[in-house]
Structure formats: C-alpha cells, structure tokens
C-alpha cells in the first residue's frame, strides 16, 4: 500500500475512494468493470451471512462509502473459496479485492473486535505454531474466547458434528499434527512480516 487512504468523503458519489482502491488494491483496476449482475453474491456460500456481499460492496466503493465498506462484515466472512472469481462474467478478481479491502480495514483499525477477531486469532495461533489448523484446538480456543459458559454451550452445540468428523477420520485424538519443517515456516513468516513492514 503506497498512497495513503483518502479522507472520508464529504459527499456521496465521490470517486476519490474508488480511485484509491483502483490504484492500491490488487484487482482494483478492474473493479469499475463490474456490471452489478450479482453472480458473485449469488454464488457465495457465505452470502447469507454477509451484510453486503461482494456485488454491493463494489457499488458502495463506487459510491464513495468508505466507512461503510471498511467496517463491513463481508470482508471478514469471505472464506477465499474463489467461487465468485471463477464465475464473474466480467473477469473481475472478486476474492482478491475483498481480501485486499480486508487488509486495508485491518490496518486502519476497522477490523472487528468480536467473534471474527477471536476466530482469526485462534486460526493464526494454530497455523503459525503447527503449520496446520487443528480441528479441535482452533474451535476450542474460539468457543472459549467468549467466556467459560459460552464455551461449554458452543462445544455442546457442535458435539454431533465433532463425533461425525471423528468417525469420518477428519479429526483425531492425541497430539496435534505438525508440519515437518517448523523452523522453515518460522523463517517464511518472519520474512513476510519484514516485507509488510518495509511497505509501511
């Protein structure tokens, strides 16, 4: 990210924010090609959980609604499944733009403090520690982040799924699996952090 994020627009339909996104977010240069067909939001498996979905997000960017876009849950609910990108008839890198906007939001302090953040923290802890996401530890950390009672309730809610996953061999009991070269992983992550820092 080179150019600083523009000030909040004083009026609607100001293209300053859209132009900034065009120049500073990966895939943003093609965002104006969006014809608002809605294929992306319609294809999105998380669509019903999102406040806006990708289509509306793009329209909001074009309308100059910086605040609304950066504080939207859409950016955090995206699972990077790439269905939208594959299906967009205008060839727009929808996922990349959503992820890019999420990065901007995180950096500018718009990242949500609640559940999304806890899940992300749990996910990141497991991934950076073991090089893998552990199917027991990530949910457990996430569930109990909202308090002990809440943790018990959420765990019980999902017990059936856990048993089925065990039966299907999708979850295991015992020590967490790790990757072989944990040191290599650490080095990679350190390098990435260095690059990010250099970019400012």
């Amino acid at each position: 990210m080179t150019a600083p994020l523009p000030e909040v627009a004083s009026r609607k339909y100001d293209l300053t924010f859209a132009r900034w996104v065009r120049d500073n977010v990966e895939g943003g240069d093609k965002m104006n090609m969006c014809m608002q067909c809605g294929t992306c939001s319609g294809s999105c498996p998380i669509g019903p959980e999102m406040d806006n979905g990708p289509r509306k997000t793009f329209m909001m960017v074009r309308a100059g609604m910086r605040e609304e876009v950066l504080s939207s849950s859409t950016l955090w609910n995206c699972t990077s499944c790439y269905r939208c990108t594959v299906r967009c008839p205008r060839g727009i890198k929808v996922t990349a733009i959503i992820q890019g906007l999420a990065q901007v939001a995180a950096k500018e302090g718009y990242a949500p403090k609640g559940e999304n953040a806890s899940f992300a923290n749990a996910f990141w802890w497991s991934a950076s520690t073991f090089g893998k996401t552990d199917e027991r530890l990530v949910p457990t950390l996430y569930y109990f982040s909202a308090g002990f009672m809440e943790g018990i309730r959420k765990s019980l809610d999902n017990l059936k799924i856990a048993i089925n996953m065990l039966k299907a061999g999708r979850m295991h009991i015992g020590m967490p699996h790790t990757i072989k070269d944990k040191k290599g992983l650490k080095a990679i992550l350190a390098k990435a952090a260095e690059i990010e820092k250099a970019k400012g």
């Binding site: 100001d14 065009r22 090609m33 608002q36 509306k56 329209m59």
Partner: protein, 746 residues
C-alpha cells in the same frame, strides 16, 4: 371479359411421390371430362427435363396459353415457370395434399380432385394481365433533406448512375452532424470515438455531377405517382417544377420540447443541459470536472427511449474521461440500451472510469444536487458537487415541416392517419368510431413535408410517435405512399452509422420503384405483377369505399364525375379495393370476385348423407400460404375436409365469397391473414385490419341465414406458425363437426 381466346392444358406431375399417393387416372378424368380442359399431359417432372421441354414448346408455339400445372406449391419452381409466355396456373397437390394427408385414401383423392377443379375454374375466369401503360417515366430521384441520411442517399444513388436532386431546407448541407465531429463508433472494433466524416461526405456530394443540390429550398407540393411525381421546389427566388421517378424523405430529427424536461430540473440552472447542448460544450472544449449524465427514462414523454440516447451518453462520458482522466462521470440509467456492438463501447467507457449507476432520478435541484434512488444500494442518495447535469433527449422525427404554419386541415389529416388501425369509414357513411387508445396529444405540429396532392391527405402516414409508418419487419423503408421511401431518423432513432446504412437500403428500393414503374410492374411484395384493378363503372355506386380503404392512397375520385380513378403505379395490387367494393365491380384480369366465386363453386360438395363437411380456407399468400406449405414439408397432418384458396391479401376477401360458400353448402369458413394492429405484419399494411372489420359484420348475415356465427372465423398467422396453422385448422374442423352440417346443403 374480353376476346382472350383460352387454350388451356393440364399438366399432371407424377413426381415427388404424387403418383404413389394418388390415382392420377382419376385426376385426369376430373380435369378433362368433368372440367372440360381439352387436354391433359403427364410427366415425372414438369419443372425440368423432358416434361419442362414439352410444356415450354406447347406455350411457345401458342398451342397452349393457359398452363394448369398440377403438382407442387406455386411458391416453388416459380423461376422456371415465369419464363413461359402465357398464363401459368398452379394446383398445389404436393405440399397441401400429398404431404399433409394419408396416401391412397378416399378423402385425399377428393381433396386433390377439388384442387384441380378450382384451378380449372381459375383458368376459365382469368386471363394474362397486360401492362396498363407503356409511356416512359422519369428515372430521376428526389432526396429531401441534406443531413447524413440525405447526403448518403444521394451519393449511393449517384454511384448507380442515377440522376439525383437533393433539396435542403436550410442554407447549408450537413444537418446536425456538421455542428459536431466525434461520433459513436460505427465500424470494427466498435470502440474509440470516431470522426463523423461529414465534411468529406458534403464535398463528395457537391462534386458529384449526378447530384443537383438546392439549399434554402422546400417542397411546395407533390402530385402524381411513382415514375411521374411532379414536384414544386420553392425557394426565396421563386419556384420551379420537376418530374421524379421516386422520392426519398430523409428529413431527420429535431430536439424534443425541453419544457417536458422540467421535472428533471431543466431550466433551474444553466448547467442543467440537454445532451444536444452538452455536445456543443464538448465541441467548444468546455470539459467539466464532475458530471452526471441522466439517460432520460421517462416513459411518459419518451415512450421510445432509444438505444441512441444510451450511446450518446456513453460517448459524451467517454469524451470527458479522455479529455481529463481524473474527471468523475456518472451515467445514471434505468435502462441501459447498449445493444449489439455498443457493448464494446460501453466496456470501453467503464474501463476509462465512467461509473454507470442504475437508479431512478428523484429530483434535480438548482444547485445541481441530483437525488437518485440507487436501486443497487436500495436507498435515496443525493449526488452533490457536480459541474454539470446532462439530460439525454429523444429524437423527434421530422415527419412534418415545422417551418410552415400548419393549416388546420393538414394537422387533422396527420392525426387521423397516425394509427394504421384506425376504424374504417363504413359504407353507410357512418362516422368512424373514436380510436381506442388515447394518444391524441401526439399530433405532430407543422406542415407536410412533400405536401402530397393525394385524396388521402398531404402527409406521409406516421406511427404513434411520428415516425414514418412502415412494415417494420419486411419493408422497413417503405412508406404507405408507393414510390416514397424514408431513411434515417425520420424512420426510427438511429446513429450516424446506422443512418448511412439505412440510406443504402432506401436507395435500392427507390431505384427499384422507378424502374418497375417504368415497366408498369408492381413493387414489392407483388414484385413484377402487371395486373391492376379495373373499375366497372357501369354499376359503381360512387360509394368511395375503394378510395378510402386503399392502404396506399392509389385511388382518387374524378373531380367531375366522382367515379374512382386509379393512379396505377401507386397501386400495390393487393386487392383491398376489390374486397371493399359492395357491388363487386372492381377486378383484376387474373384475380376477381367472379373467379374466386367460381373456384368456390367448383368444389364438389358431398351430400349430407356422406357426412363429409367442407371447410373453405381463404389464406393470405404472403404468410399463411407459406406457413401451410411448411406444415406440409414437415408432414403435419391437416384436416382432410379443408379446401384452400390463396388470396392476395385478406383485405381482398369480399363478403360475396363468404355468402357464395355458405349458400353452396360449405360447413365452415376460415380466413387466415397476417397480424393487424399497431405492430401489424400485414404486407399491405391495412388489409388484414380491413378484413377483420368487414368480417365482424358477417355475424348478422349468418344469423339471417339461421346459422351459427362460429362457422366463419378469422385467424392471424405469421410465416413461422407452421404448427399453429395445422392446429388451428384441425381444431376449427372439430368445431365445425361439432356444429353439424350446413343446413343449406343440397
């Protein structure tokens, strides 16, 4: 009829599976013994080979002057038979009989025999048409309008060697295009702003030896007919007369009334402008930093909100972006009509950064705040800080001349002619009923362009929004005044590239019309037809019905005697006048009330104990007959009791035929024609509507004969309705069988 000595011969074709499905000996007996045709010949093919040679020799030697060819549909092999001297009559037993009926069946055989009887009756009651007049006529073209369409038309005509007179009302050529330069891309790859090339086009026309240009000139009046239009050219210096073969009206378009744009803020600020005004700003290099372009969606004032408005909006938005890549341009639309190649242009504008905003404009304030209900965000959002608000406008066709004070009468005539479907003046002289739709406010102000000295009025008939009336699918350049063609935006909204192409089409038609008129032949759809309506004035009651109902204004009343007088080259030979005449005194040499009555009577009607009904189908030969042929080609089974007579147009069907058929013992009558109404497909514009009107009166006749009204039906059939036509005939057959036989059967 005259001294024409008939020498008929029947040619029975045995090919194409006919021999395997029918008893040819029996058919020969019907033709010769029963119908009295002196001779019948057989061959495996009369369209080629030995059979054709025999036929050709017979006719060229003069032994035969009426060939009754029994075989395929008249729609196929027409070329071969057209070369033959003398009259060719076709009895269709292939598509209509062998291909729609089970082979070697009693009813199939009866149907084929009846088709031969009808063809023989047709021969006995018709003769080859002769040209009405052989005087040489003008091959000069008049083009009215010196804008892109008119200039292109003049150039295109000149390239074919045609002499052209171009008349322009203003003092300079070029029209709107001369004021502007950049235009919507009209050639591959359909992106980028292109020069409109108007200066070159004007130069080409001015240097062209075949083209005479008159500026500051209007048409005083026009009389006559194709090949002989006598036209008065009026300018400040006086007037002159000239004779033209045909006329192209390319008068283009004008701005819409800006008073109608007030609800979009027009008038509240100098920076709320129409696209036309904005075009001028762009030409002057006055580029805004922020702009909203509203594609005027108002259905009320612009019911035809056209693709041109959309393309103009895209063009102007792109022009701003190209001049200043940091500019902010919003195009606000409810319907973005970037059809066809304009899709590439639309994408180009998006890539350049133009934002397309779907929404409804709620208000535009004097400080240029545009409040839009943004459909995609689902909220009313004000747009502020704009430098300019542009409103696209419609193209109002110049189908009238606004420079001339409209005479009260002139306006009324255009108004009455606005709807092609206006009710007819009835024979009893009753007033026409008020038209059902209430767009009476749409009267085009201004005087007529050509000031036609026609009984039917000085204007070229127009459609509801003032665009010249034409058969929009088949004959788009046609007006309802033969030999007069329109091209460019007077016909429909279009871009420069489209207008140029349109001019080519109209020129081809106009040249064809002059040349055909020169040979006394009809223009389309009956191209090359020599027949024309003749009026038996001895029994004419001067009822004027023919003059009123002719869709092309071909008939005048003699100012002294009041009898109808034909302007032959205006006539399209549709026969609508013939169908209208209450005393059946209008006839063509090869198509007349007597002939069809005899054909109807020639069919053998089985007596009531046979329980075999007969259904008369009078089908329009433009669409219904081809659809019926297609049904045959697809081998669809059709009701075995139908007997088909092709008619030139449903408008030519007289009540006399319906009565004859009912008295003769037919059990049902089906009339099949093209779609009528505002979106008509009738090849003679009004014929089908006239027929509907006439047939609505048949109910009374039926009641007076103590018969059910359902026995006579009218259906609209398009050329593609091959399944529908079979289904319609079959279900009509069932209805008739349900009603039981005609009580008048002998």
């Amino acid at each position: 009829m005259s001294e024409f000595e008939r020498k008929p011969c029947v040619y029975l074709c045995e090919g194409c599976g006919i021999k395997d499905a029918l008893d040819i000996d029996d058919l020969e007996r019907v033709a010769t013994m029963e119908m009295g045709v002196p001779e019948a010949k057989r061959s495996d093919s009369f369209c080629a080979g030995d059979g054709y040679e025999t036929l050709k020799k017979d006719m060229e030697s003069g032994d035969v002057n009426q060939a009754i060819i029994v075989g395929c549909s008249p729609r196929v092999m027409a070329e071969q038979f057209r070369e033959l001297p003398g009259q060719v009559i076709r009895a269709n037993i292939r598509e209509q009989v062998v291909w729609t009926q089970p082979p070697n069946d009693e009813d199939t055989q009866m149907m084929a025999a009846d088709n031969i009887r009808m063809a023989a009756a047709q021969a006995q009651n018709s003769e080859p048409p002769q040209a009405y007049w052989d005087a040489a006529s003008s091959l000069k073209l008049l083009v009215v309008g010196g804008g892109v369409s008119g200039l292109s038309a003049a150039r295109e005509a000149s390239k074919t060697g045609c002499e052209v007179v171009l008349v322009e009302k203003s003092d300079a050529l070029g029209g709107w295009a001369a004021k502007w330069s950049k235009t919507i891309p009209g050639a591959a790859p359909y992106t980028g702003l292109q020069e409109n090339g108007i200066a070159d086009l004007i130069k080409e026309v001015e240097e062209d030896k075949n083209i005479t240009v008159h500026t500051n000139t209007i048409i005083g009046q026009t009389e006559g007919m194709p090949g002989k239009f006598t036209t008065q050219l009026v300018n400040g210096k006086g007037d002159s007369w000239d004779v033209f073969g045909s006329i192209i009206v390319a008068t283009g378009w004008r701005e819409m009334d800006t008073a109608k744009l007030e609800h979009l803020g027009y008038g509240k600020s100098d920076d709320i402008v129409t696209d036309i005004q904005f075009e001028q700003r762009l030409a002057d290099g006055n580029i805004p930093k922020t702009a909203a372009i509203i594609i005027n969606p108002d259905k009320e004032i612009q019911p035809f909100s056209s693709g041109v408005s959309t393309k103009v909006a895209i063009k102007q938005a792109l022009q701003i972006m190209q001049a200043d890549p940091d500019a902010m341009v919003y195009v606000i639309y409810e319907e973005l009509r970037a059809h066809g190649t304009a899709e590439s242009f639309y994408r180009e504008a998006q890539e350049a950064g133009v934002v397309f905003q779907k929404g409804e404009v709620k208000s535009v304030d004097g400080d240029l705040t545009v409040t839009v209900h943004d459909d995609l965000l689902g909220a009313n959002i004000p747009m502020t800080g704009l430098d300019v608000v542009v409103i696209t406008t419609g193209m109002i066709p110049n189908s009238t001349n606004i420079d001339i004070e409209a005479a009260e009468k002139g306006e009324d005539q255009l108004k009455d002619d606005i709807r092609p479907n206006l009710p007819l003046i009835t024979i009893n002289g009753e007033e026409p009923e008020a038209a059902s739709d209430d767009d009476d406010g749409d009267v085009m102000p201004g005087g007529p362009i050509l000031n036609l000295q026609y009984r039917q009025g000085p204007h070229i008939p127009v459609l509801a929004n003032g665009f010249a009336d034409s058969h929009y699918i088949c004959f788009p350049y046609e007006t309802r005044r033969t030999g007069i063609y329109t091209c460019g935006p007077v016909r429909r909204p279009m871009t420069i590239a489209e207008a140029k192409e349109d001019a080519q089409g109209a020129v081809l038609k106009a040249i064809q019309a002059m040349r055909m008129s020169n040979q006394a032949e009809a223009v389309h759809p009956r191209v090359g037809d020599l027949s024309y309506p003749e009026f038996g004035l001895n029994i004419c009651t001067k009822c004027r019905r023919c003059t009123v109902e002719c869709p092309f204004g071909a008939i005048d009343e003699d100012p002294e005697t009041d009898y109808p007088v034909l302007n032959p080259s205006r006539c399209r030979r549709c026969g609508t006048c013939m169908g209208a005449c209450p005393v059946s005194t209008i006839s063509f040499k090869n198509y007349n009330p007597q002939m069809v009555s005899e054909m109807i009577s020639a069919v053998e009607i089985p007596d009531e104990f046979d329980e075999k009904p007969r259904i008369l189908v009078m089908a329009c030969e433009n669409d219904a007959i081809p659809a019926l042929d297609m049904a045959g080609i697809n081998r669809r089974q059709i009701n075995k009791y139908m007997r088909v007579i092709p008619v030139r147009c449903l408008g030519s069907v007289t009540l006399l035929w319906v009565k004859t058929a009912l008295e003769k013992g037919y059990d049902g009558i089906m009339l099949m024609g093209c779609k009528s109404g505002d979106d008509y497909q009738c090849h003679f514009v009004k014929g089908s509507a006239m027929a509907q009107e006439r047939m609505s009166k048949v109910g009374e006749t039926l009641q007076s004969m103590m018969m059910e009204e359902e026995r006579v039906a009218v259906t609209e059939i398009a050329i593609s309705d091959t399944r529908k036509i079979a289904d319609t005939l079959n279900s009509f057959g069932e209805t008739i069988e349900g009603l039981g036989l005609n009580p008048f059967k002998m």
